[in-house]
Amino acid sequence: MTESTGKTQIAVTVEGISKKFGAASVLEDINFEVSEGETIVLLGASGSGKTTILRIIAGLEAPDSGRVILHAKDVTKIPARGRGVGVIFQSYALFPKMSVEQNIGYGLRLRKKAKAEINEVTDGLIELTGLQEHRKKYPSQLSGGQQQRVAIARALAYNPEVLLFDEPFGALDAQIRTRLRREIRALLKEIKVPSIFITHDQEEALELGDRIAVLNEGRLEQIGTPYDVYTKPATEYVATFLGAANLMLGIINDGKFEAEDVFLKIEGDVPVRDRQSVKLVFRPEDVFLRKPENLTQNYQPLTDGFIEEVNFVGAFERVVVRLNISTRQPIIVTRPKTETTAFPLTIGQKVKVGLVRFRILPNYTLASERASRVV
């Protein structure tokens, strides 16, 4: 299967994967693709099914239905050892009685490669992952970060079809985590092997992924670039899982969002009918707060409110604003230092609340509405 030049090839296809454990449905009709050299992050809470998808792609679990295709080969019926995938486990699973070198060379030894070739590949990978000083050591003598690098080198040794990372940063300290994340991303860009990460950490997902797939209770809610998934969440779950979000119920009336006392003009195409019940979604950092006398023009006014709480959170200020509508709904607003120094606000102060950006999502309160999905 050859693609025309200029178009990226598809490395991994997951098609219609479903899985039940007993009566519980763990995965429901999962579909996505990973292109050559791309890094996809499967993001979801525990129990969302992300680990199960990874294990199904690796061949450690069998799906109830659907297919897994690696580089145009249907591997669904093939056991793990025949798939040529590289898995980096959460605990790294380094072989304790083998040295770093021996761990890395294991895959090639299994394939009965010549000693010279094994040494050459091992040397190259040790160089790539910066493990020269540790090559003769045993896993118990290595730090978490070093163990992770061995795990990656080991998986790369036999030219895997795809790299699968199972929450690789979970066992590490926060400081090391951010540094390693960047190192791994740089490494993956260099070797151009398609990779799939699973994580529950949204910051990690935003930083690591070329695209993010958000999973909720066995369903793929949205897949897209970090920017798209963050600024244009397709569902309420995605909006609230990735970053914080304020929600307000209302309806669409004559092409405008309407809640009591609130009128917002909607720009661009919004896939909702007139008179439909919707949810307004806006992020704390997209809210503008000003004293009535300091108004500017470049925002859509939401309503009035007053400051209930002000919290200093280091790089920015987190403010709770109580809105002047009958629901007296509180919203969360974050203000950067530039705002707080230029326009300081205190508790009890009356403010005008405006939105720089927002999203309209259909409000699925009825099962039938959810089923139809297309509006």
Partner: protein
């Protein structure tokens, strides 16, 4: 060595309970364990080293020691291999009757050794349930070294298994999964990944089985016939010589067996950390 040391002060001045309880412990152990062990050495060397050496190098004595070592070796070899295999199967697979099998494997420890020996005779003896079919072909399993090996296998059956299975149960499954994703067959994974992690357990299982085997008496005396110079193991030799009134001869072998057991258990004790290492 695991301990639960307490640093609490219980009294204002000198706490007499600590030295008192330690002394009590030793005093109780004296007549029960410490003195009997000491007696073997005190008595055995009372007539001088020359006498001891003569008793030790008597042909029947040497034969008894050799027979003990050889039969114990084969029983250990079999039980370690089988124990490994059984631990693998019973740890990995779930099936109807699994728990019953685990209990059955552990049964031999609960059965009195004399009963075990007797049962073997009933099965393999010349008029035994299976033995009677072998008799016409001239195959006599009982009253031979083979019988001793069979009896030892029965009696020490659960020992190696009992040491190895917990290691299988607590083994990190990810290791085997990692090996599989890297392209290994089940056998390759077992050989390269699982077995090295079992080194310690296999060694302690083997030592335990061997030590127990060497010391086995109850079943051996029944199935071997206790024929001096033919089927008489070291413990049987001690028994026989004592009955004949040749105390010195018995004593010499007793010392050897005691020292041998000390050696094995020292290894098991002091190398425990290495043996249990991941």
């Amino acid at each position: 060595m695991s301990a639960n040391l307490s640093g609490i002060r219980h009294t204002r001045g000198f706490d007499v309970i600590k030295p008192l309880s330690i002394m009590t412990l030793i005093i109780v152990m004296m007549p029960l364990v410490l003195l009997p062990l000491a007696s073997i050495f005190i008595f055995g060397t009372s007539n001088g080293l020359r006498s001891f050496w003569n008793a030790l190098t008597a042909p029947e004595a040497i034969f008894a020691l050799q027979l003990s070592m050889v039969t114990s070796f084969w029983a250990t070899a079999f039980n370690v291999v089988f124990g490994l295999f059984a631990a693998y199967v019973l740890s990995k697979y779930n099936f109807w009757g699994r728990n019953a099998l685990i209990v059955t494997i552990s049964l031999p420890t609960a059965i009195p050794t004399a009963v075990a020996g007797f049962a073997l005779l009933l099965l393999w003896g010349p008029y035994g349930i299976l033995g009677k079919y072998l008799e016409p072909y001239g195959i006599h399993l009982m009253f031979t070294a083979a019988a001793i090996i069979l009896a030892n296998i029965f009696v020490t059956f659960p020992l190696a298994f009992g040491v190895i299975k917990p290691v299988f149960d607590t083994m990190n499954q990810s290791l085997e999964e990692a090996s599989a994703t890297m392209g290994a067959t089940r056998w390759q994974t077992f050989w390269h990944v699982t077995l090295p992690s079992l080194r310690g357990a296999i060694l302690s299982g083997a030592l335990l089985t061997f030590a127990r085997s060497v010391g086995e008496f109850g079943s051996t005396i029944l199935v071997s016939g206790n024929l001096a110079g033919r089927t008489q193991t070291a413990p049987l030799y001690i028994f026989a010589k004592f009955n004949e009134g040749q105390v010195e001869a018995a004593n010499a072998i007793a010392i050897v067996l005691a020292l041998f057991s000390f050696l094995i258990f020292s290894v098991l004790f002091f190398a425990r950390d290495w043996l249990e290492a991941e």
